[in-house]
């Protein structure tokens, strides 16, 4: 599986090969700069009536985030990058959010770089999809987790944002379903969680329908559920989906033009401390990175405002979302790590077999953890 990671050079090459070039980073992220990277894909969908296999949730339905290895001379396996960290985002592509794929591609280098800054030593793996409405031809476009610029640009340009409809309730619940039940991530196997971001300016039709599941994931979706470890015979309902998502992901809603009503509404599904209201999607990479950093404990709450300012986030934008960002559960991933029995693999760790959970010498051994009830002397 290699050791390639995202590089800006590869990104520029990938975009250039698709006829898109930028004179500067400012131009690339400018609101005025228009792209139309999915026009070819949309034309193909219009012609064939089928979604591209790379982003069709019905094909290879279970999306995997795996640890990457390279073979050693003595037939073992060396971790070639680091522990994988799955970061999935699903973007509203309806109505006024219809150009989100274009924006996602434009900010991709920043998304990757800033997330990696907050995840030192990890193999950042990104799945950036879109969702619409059940009246759309295709409710969900969901790719695999990818690590290189070429692959990510490729799947983004194969998406089919339909951009129909207004800003009333949409159907992201199927994206939540996919992330909860159709993801196989190494992070979960060692007691950690990946990341899930739902970016929307609307509320949700909170109903899971058997017909829609078949339409999106294929007639045999129940088999696929079982394949990925689901044990029930009834399809999960919305409460099950929300619970499962929170069990496996640090799941957040980024509510565009969100107000107190949106915080309460999404708070019912995700928890209010997992709802971040933003005025628009201009600084999405920075907001996602801040969330990841606070959750990982690599961004201190005291440094949040300065960090955002240092990354050129507008002062008014910071004021808008700072209150919510300060409620993100700081260090939540570290608490999971402390509670887990597992070592987080690092670059260069050796595994006996690719399917092993832990590197050599750490097979299922509980890690030592400090006793928090020690006497005063240990506090200082």
């Amino acid at each position: 599986m290699g050791h390639e990671i995202f590089s800006s050079y590869d990104y520029i090459s990938s975009m250039s090969s698709r006829g898109v070039s930028y004179s500067s980073d400012e131009e690339r992220r400018s609101k005025e700069r228009k792209h139309d990277v999915t026009s070819a894909a949309r034309q193909k969908v219009h012609k064939t009536g089928k979604l591209d296999p790379a982003v069709d949730p019905a094909i290879d339905t279970i999306r995997r985030s795996l640890i990457r290895f390279e073979a050693t001379e003595d037939k073992k396996w060396r971790v070639s990058v680091g522990c994988p960290m799955d970061i999935e985002s699903t973007l509203d592509s309806t109505g006024s959010m219809g150009d989100n794929v274009d924006k996602a591609i434009a900010v991709l280098p920043d998304t990757y770089a800033l997330a990696s800054e907050m995840l030192p030593g990890y193999d950042v793996q990104i799945a950036c999809g879109i969702f619409g409405d059940i009246v759309d031809d295709f409710v969900l476009n969901r790719p695999q987790f990818e690590m290189t610029a070429e692959k990510i640009v490729d799947y983004l340009t194969r998406m089919n944002p339909e951009g129909e409809g207004g800003d009333s309730a949409e159907d992201p619940q199927y994206a939540m379903f996919a992330s909860a039940y159709f993801t196989a991530a190494y992070t979960n196997r060692i007691g950690l969680k990946g990341y899930f971001f739902l970016i929307t300016d609307a509320s949700m039709h909170s109903r899971i329908s058997n017909d829609m599941l078949k339409r999106i994931f294929g007639d045999n979706f129940l088999e696929k559920l079982h394949e990925n470890g689901y044990e029930g015979d009834e399809i999960p309902d919305m409460q099950d989906v929300a619970a499962k998502l929170k069990e496996t992901k640090h799941a957040f809603v980024i509510a565009v033009e969100g107000d107190s009503h949106d915080r309460r509404y999404w708070g019912k599904w995700f928890g209010t401390e997992h709802v971040i209201r933003v005025p628009d999607t201009t600084y999405l990479p920075e907001i996602e990175a801040a969330i990841i950093g606070l959750t990982e404990g690599t961004l201190e709450p005291i440094d949040l405002e300065v960090w955002l300012k240092n990354h050129q986030v507008d002062g008014g934008y910071i004021d808008y979302c700072q209150y919510d960002l300060r409620k993100v559960p700081y260090g939540a991933q570290r608490k999971l790590e402390e509670a887990s029995e597992y070592k987080i693999p690092k670059l260069g760790d050796i595994f006996e077999k690719k399917t092993d959970l832990q590197p050599c010498g750490h097979e299922n051994k509980p890690l030592d953890s400090p006793d928090p009830k020690e006497e005063d002397g240990s506090w200082l």
Partner: protein
């Protein structure tokens, strides 16, 4: 021991025996410390590890918010032509500094706190006195009045917090009371249940601390022993049993009772130790060291 921030600047010095509070639930401790900058005694909030840094930051943000709001209220009060100061800022600590320690001290965030217009060293934790002492009704009344004033202020700011008696400190001679725990305070006005719980906690705390109350007999009013306090006791009962009223109303009810009983005259801090039978009233030259 000297505590330094992550840039190596010395902040304060203290000994582990200077512990004021310890909270198992949050693994946060409060120490009395000496500030390196000005040599004064202050309070330092210390988390066990850095995973509580967000709570410390939340408290820092909230204290700045309260300080700004207090200034706003004073300005409005002056614009109404009033010469007196409201002094909501006497009820919560001053945030002197919020800093991260270096990695050798766990990369923890800590809040350095002081008390406006008063000396930290003169303050007594209520928790230290609760079991072994009782106060008379007028003493508990002025203290409850301070807590209700604080809650009135917080509610008017559109915020909420969950009060607990362990975080109340007071200076008995000048009738100062300060509440120290703002880790979970929030500017979300929807959290009205926290404010209701705070009101109930305050009323219950001071009801139980008054000499009407004993561990063995519970709340018992002996009209032979206590004269003209029954009305106050009934007010306390009401606030304890029906805390769903807002703090402004609770404050009004309490002071209506106090005005009818005693007026607003100064009453010295008057207490009795459970193991003694002698009442003490704290004079201006007396020291108080429970």
């Amino acid at each position: 021991m000297i505590l330094k921030d992550r840039d190596g600047n010395e902040i304060c010095s203290f000994d582990k025996s200077d512990l004021l509070f310890s909270s198992d639930a949050r693994q946060i401790k409060i120490y009395r410390v000496r500030s390196i900058a000005d040599g004064k005694i202050k309070l330092l909030k210390v988390p066990y590890d850095k995973l509580s840094n967000n709570l410390i930051q939340n408290e820092a943000d909230f204290l700045r918010f309260l300080a700004d709001k207090s200034d706003e209220f004073e300005k409005k009060n002056k614009q109404l032509g009033n010469e007196y100061l409201i002094h909501y800022d006497w009820l919560f600590p001053v945030l002197e500094d919020s800093f991260l320690t270096g990695p050798e001290q766990g990369g923890r965030q800590m809040n350095l706190l002081s008390i406006r217009d008063a000396h930290v060293a003169d303050f007594v934790p209520l928790a230290k006195m609760f079991s072994d002492y009782r106060v008379d009704a007028r003493t508990s009344a002025w203290m409850l009045g301070r807590m209700l004033k604080l809650q009135t202020f917080v509610e008017q700011c559109g915020a909420s917090f969950c009060a607990h008696r362990d975080y109340i400190i007071f200076e008995p001679k000048s009738h100062r009371l300060v509440y120290l725990n703002w880790l979970d305070a929030t500017r979300n006005p929807d959290n009205f249940r926290d404010n209701v719980a705070s009101l109930k906690e305050s009323a219950t705390c001071f009801t139980c601390w008054t000499n009407w109350y004993s561990e063995e007999e519970g709340l018992e009013y002996d009209s032979d022993r206590f004269t003209n306090e029954e009305e106050l006791l009934e007010t306390y009962r009401f606030l304890t049993e029906y805390p769903e009223i807002d703090a402004i109303e609770a404050h009004r009810i309490l002071y209506k009772t106090l005005d009818s009983l005693w007026g607003r005259n100064y009453h010295p801090f008057t207490y009795i130790k459970a193991s003694e039978l002698i009442w003490h009233s704290l004079g201006s030259d007396d020291d108080f060291c429970p």
